[in-house]
């Protein structure tokens, strides 16, 4: 069978390395508002999403009370603030690199709404849920023009986010083209379809050749073919290239020693792969890694139960410390912004009758490192219970909100956060950072104080 010109073109394209963006997508209409000067200090952002709402007064804004468990081992660090060495022993080694925001505040106290906020930087609006892109998708859209020939990963990678009724779906591209959707990997399920075992590679290549030779429905695609089919074909070719890129197996490889260092958990594995992706310098720009299990409504200090901080903290601690150590060792931290936060905080003071803490919006922590962030600092302060903010600790002179984090992410990645997407399905512009949070208008902005 003599291959047609079209077939040759297709086979030829395989030798070109790179994550391929389809030509078939219509660009969204994006306009800049005021041309914000960006920081552009990061090549990648890693957001560790502590799903459920981690307890601020046991972790990064540690407080005392008769409720406190004994073995948190709270000590004053050389930076002058207190830290729970018992809960986060290995994280303690990296405090010099961490800027810890204690004057954070959430808008929401319902998980799904809070997660929506965290992932999109926008308030839930029933009219706009379908069309609003997440932060990662905006990043993907912005980086379309900056794609390099050597890139083989998509800009937006989301790992271990399990869509549930309580937390809602992973937020994707909204009204942006479908190539801005996240690459999703689920380490808990060992779901790594991009990983090709060397013993299986020959067979995959053979099958792919068969598909290229025989799938007339792909070979005959033309301009008048349905856009969804052309898009699927384009995705197939992209992922096939990804799977067979010489560096891809390196990205998905985890040695037993490394896994152990990161805590040998799905969250640790995902942090390890995030490290590999950043180290590969292959186009991944916004990596969200989710750790579930922080919704400690009962037995928050219980040691023999499935939940509680005694279970979630060690998982987080090993993975985060492992990631920080490697990013530093590999000299990647200078150009990588790492952020740790959940969707809200937890109720301060005494525990509930079932020894837990409920959802709380008044105070929450956010941790920043890398990309020029000056570490060894606590920004802002709260009262002795962590119930109210007593000192905002930054030039904004108000609480720090998720919108500010969003603006910080865009600025670090060199994205003008004053941009807006016009011609959305609802007819209303989508502002990268929306100054209106519900009925309040707040002048949200990059948390520049992190860098000073």
């Amino acid at each position: 069978m003599t291959p047609t010109r079209r077939q040759l073109l297709r086979l030829g394209a395989l030798s070109v390395a790179g994550y391929e963006l389809s030509e078939a997508f219509q660009p969204a209409n994006v306009q800049a508002q005021s041309r914000v000067k960006t920081r552009a200090s990061a090549d990648a952002v890693i957001l560790l999403n502590l799903q459920g709402g981690p307890s601020q007064m046991d972790m990064f804004d540690v407080k005392h009370g008769k409720w406190a468990p004994e073995n948190r081992d709270v000590r004053t660090t050389k930076f002058g603030f207190e830290f729970p060495y018992g809960f986060l022993p290995r994280t303690a080694d990296h405090l010099a690199d961490l800027a810890i925001v204690r004057s954070g505040q959430a808008w929401e106290t319902v998980h799904s709404r809070g997660q929506y906020y965290l992932q999109t930087g926008h308030a839930v609006s029933p009219a706009r849920i379908k069309e609003s892109p997440s932060i990662g998708s905006v990043v993907a859209h912005e980086y379309r023009d900056r794609m390099r020939a050597s890139d083989f990963l998509p800009p937006f990678v989301a790992m271990n986010y399990e869509p549930t009724t309580m937390y809602g779906p992973l937020q994707g591209e909204g009204c942006l083209p479908p190539d801005c959707s996240p690459l999703t990997l689920d380490l808990a399920q060992g779901n790594l379809p991009f990983f090709v075992d060397e013993k299986d590679r020959e067979r995959l290549l053979r099958r792919w050749r068969m598909l290229q030779e025989a799938d007339t429905s792909r070979l005959n695609l033309g301009d008048a073919s349905p856009a969804v089919m052309r898009r699927f074909d384009s995705f197939s070719r992209s992922v096939f290239k990804m799977m067979n890129h010489p560096k891809m197996s390196g990205v998905l490889q985890m040695t037993p020693e490394e896994r152990k260092t990161y805590g040998a958990s799905p969250f640790g594995d995902a942090c390890l792969i995030a490290r590999n992706m950043v180290a590969a310098d292959a186009g991944a720009r916004f990596l969200m890694v989710t750790q579930p299990g922080w919704d400690h409504h009962s037995s928050i200090y219980g040691k023999n139960l499935d939940g509680g901080l005694y279970k979630t903290c060690p998982v987080f601690d090993s993975a985060f410390a492992g990631l920080m150590a490697d990013l530093k060792r590999l000299r990647l931290l200078e150009r990588t912004l790492v952020i740790v936060m959940g969707e809200f905080g937890r109720t301060p003071g005494d525990l509930t009758p079932v020894a837990g803490r409920e959802h709380y919006a008044g105070t929450m922590f956010m941790v920043f490192a890398g990309a020029g962030v000056k570490g060894g600092r606590a920004i802002g302060a709260t009262d002795p219970q962590a119930a109210h903010i007593t000192n905002f600790g930054w030039s904004g002179k108000r609480p720090i909100y998720v919108e500010d984090v969003c603006a910080t992410i865009y600025s670090a990645l060199g994205i003008d956060s004053s941009k807006r997407i016009t011609h959305t399905p609802s007819g209303r512009d989508f502002l990268y950072v929306d100054p209106a949070a519900g009925t309040k208008v707040v002048n949200f902005r990059e948390i520049a104080d992190l860098y000073a």
Binding site: M1, T109, V110, S112, P126, A127, P154, P163, T165, G168, P169, P178, S181, L183, T184, D186, Q189, G190, N191, P193, F194, V196, D200, R203, L204, R206, R207, W208, M210, L211, E213, A214, D215, T216, S217, R218, L221, G222, A224, S225, P226, V228, M229, R231, F232, D233, F235, S236, S238, V239, F240, M242, M243, E358, H359, S426, G427, R428
Partner: protein
């Protein structure tokens, strides 16, 4: 020989006598000089109509019989065969009815029958299934749901519909009565009138919706509250504390405007909250119960039938006459009374929508009749292949099949059928087993029994019956799963598959290839395809079957229909 005949027939597929639908679509196309795609060949038609009406791929015997038949009315006969018989006294229960599975699943998705109802899932499911078994008129079906009462939704299924709209306070313990009434009004207006009231449930439409929906931009929050006020007496209470087992009755005093808690901004305490139907202003007549009155007003309004036919049309045609089915703008429906510029009339075919709605009303709101009417039309039976001169401006004309990716459930049921995998999925809170994904009661059945498959279904846009609507958008992860995921690789292993091993034992290679193509694509392989498949068999037959199966499920004409 048979094959040759069927090929000839496929080439000669002729347009049938135009029906009600074709009349309007043709008139519209003629006015816009839109080119027509050819009538689909037998394979394309058979695969499509079976997937759309029953959710499953046709089995290979059905394909062989259909392709081999020379009967001039074989399409009509086949369409009739897709509908199960109506039960008559003394008849044994219907054993297998993919039609009932598929449409029950569809309405379970719409009604969000999911894990938040726990055991109520099964009673709700059974209620819907039974309603479709009896082919209950759609208006009666809807009235039953809206007016249902129950001591426990775990024993009486129909009341789960109302109970599903309950809204807890932020503490997760107390019910917020007014938010719940709002939610029932929003859900019923959306599902059964095609109008989305979410925005005006918090604020007036003015200064918000001018660019979105002309009719809604003129609505006030007060009007929405008067719609919700029909549910002011509706009492929904957990039977045991927080359990999702609910009592549903009508013992509350009424809609309380002074409620401060909940998800919505405070309501205007001075307004008149007397229940009044949003589309007519009709109030509850003396002696009629509020929910009964609401159900009567809703199902007798012309918009009810319009929304219903548009919903079913969208599900079968891939796009609504008003697109999407819950985004009706009621100020933009009548071409004789067009909206002011720059607005345009919303439906692509307003007269067709009106005619279909009238036909539906005049024929006892018969869903089966409506489905049959649509799939029997030439319009439905047109090919996906583009005609000459086609451009993107023609896409609303319905003169060419709109290609759709298989739904998540169709895809994995289709893979199971093609690879002869026997599925047996345990149904939660029940001893029953489902033989297909479309027979499961809710996504939790697979969440609890087969996590990798559950996650794959999510990746392909399965509705979660909570926040995620069913979706057929392609994504990278979907392509990756089909090319290389463990889930797919394991599903295609012949050594673990008794039916495939039997096939290898019984049949020569050439017939096996036929069988696999018939199962996946509802057609025989071409000469080239056969040669390639046989070449794959030459080294190792089992491996050959696996590779051909992989090839088939990765073909675009397997994934799209």
């Amino acid at each position: 020989m048979l094959r040759k005949i069927s090929l000839l027939l496929a080439l000669a597929a002729q347009a049938a006598e135009p029906n009600l639908i074709d009349k309007y679509v043709d008139a519209n196309a003629a006015a816009g000089r839109v080119p027509y795609a050819a009538i689909a060949g037998d394979s394309e038609f058979l695969r499509r109509v079976t997937l759309d009406v029953t959710g499953q791929l046709p089995d290979t015997k059905t394909v062989r019989d259909f392709l081999g038949s020379t009967a001039p009315d074989k399409r009509e006969t086949y369409i009739d065969s897709l509908f199960p018989p109506l039960p008559v006294p003394g008849m044994r229960s219907i054993k297998e009815a993919p039609f009932l599975d598929r449409w029950t699943y569809f309405f379970n998705d719409l009604f969000r029958n999911g894990e938040l109802l726990e055991e109520g899932i099964n009673t709700f499911y059974d209620h819907i299934y039974k309603s479709f078994t009896l082919n209950l008129p759609y208006d009666e079906f809807v009235r039953n749901l809206i007016t249902a009462t129950a001591v426990s939704t775990w024993s009486d299924g129909s009341a789960n519909f109302i109970a599903r709209s309950h809204v807890f306070e932020g503490d997760g313990y107390q019910m917020n009565h007014e938010d719940t009434a709002d939610e029932i009004a929003i859900n019923t207006t959306r599902l059964f009138l095609g109008v989305s009231l979410e925005c005006v449930s918090c604020h007036d439409g003015a200064n918000h919706l001018e660019k979105v929906n002309l009719w809604l931009s003129q609505r006030k929050r007060a009007e929405m509250i008067r719609q919700a006020s029909f549910f002011g007496k509706t009492y929904i209470s957990p039977v045991f504390g927080r359990s999702p087992q609910f009592t549903v009755k009508d013992t509350r005093p009424g809609y309380d405007l002074t409620t401060r808690s909940g998800l919505r901004p405070p309501r205007d305490k001075t307004m008149d909250a007397t229940a009044a139907f949003l589309l007519t202003g009709e109030k509850i007549p003396a002696g009629e119960k509020p929910r009964q009155a609401y159900a009567r007003m809703l199902t007798s309004h012309p918009q009810f039938a319009r929304a219903a036919v548009n919903l079913i049309w969208a599900e079968l045609m891939g796009q609504g006459i008003v697109d999407g089915p819950f985004d009706f703008d009621l100020a933009r429906q009548d071409p004789k009374n067009p909206p002011p510029a720059p607005w345009t009339v919303q439906p692509s075919h307003p007269e067709l929508l009106e005619a279909l709605a009238a036909d539906f009303r005049e024929n006892n709101h018969d869903l089966r009749r409506l489905i049959r009417l649509i799939v029997s039309s030439n319009t439905y039976q047109r090919s996906m292949a583009p005609p000459k001169g086609w451009n993107t401006n023609h896409e609303d004309a319905f003169t060419r099949r709109i290609a759709r990716r298989l739904s998540a459930e169709q895809l994995f049921d289709g893979i199971a059928r093609t690879a002869k995998i026997r599925q047996s999925i345990k149904i939660t809170f029940s001893e029953k087993k489902a033989a297909s994904i479309l027979q499961t009661r809710s996504p939790q059945d697979l969440d609890k029994t087969d996590k990798p498959l559950f996650r794959a279904l999510q990746a392909f846009g399965q509705c979660d019956r909570y926040a995620i609507e069913a979706d057929r958008k392609p994504s990278m992860i979907q392509a990756a799963i089909l090319l290389n995921d463990k889930l797919i690789r394991e599903r295609l292993v012949v050594a673990k598959n008794p039916d495939l091993l039997e096939l290898l034992k019984q049949k020569p290679d050439s017939e096996i290839v036929d069988e696999l193509f018939l199962a996946a694509l509802s057609r025989f392989p071409s000469e080239n395809e056969k040669a390639q498949a046989l070449a794959a068999f030459s080294e190792n037959r089992e491996q050959g079957v696996e590779d051909v199966l992989w090839l088939l499920i990765n073909r675009l004409d397997f994934l799209f229909y």
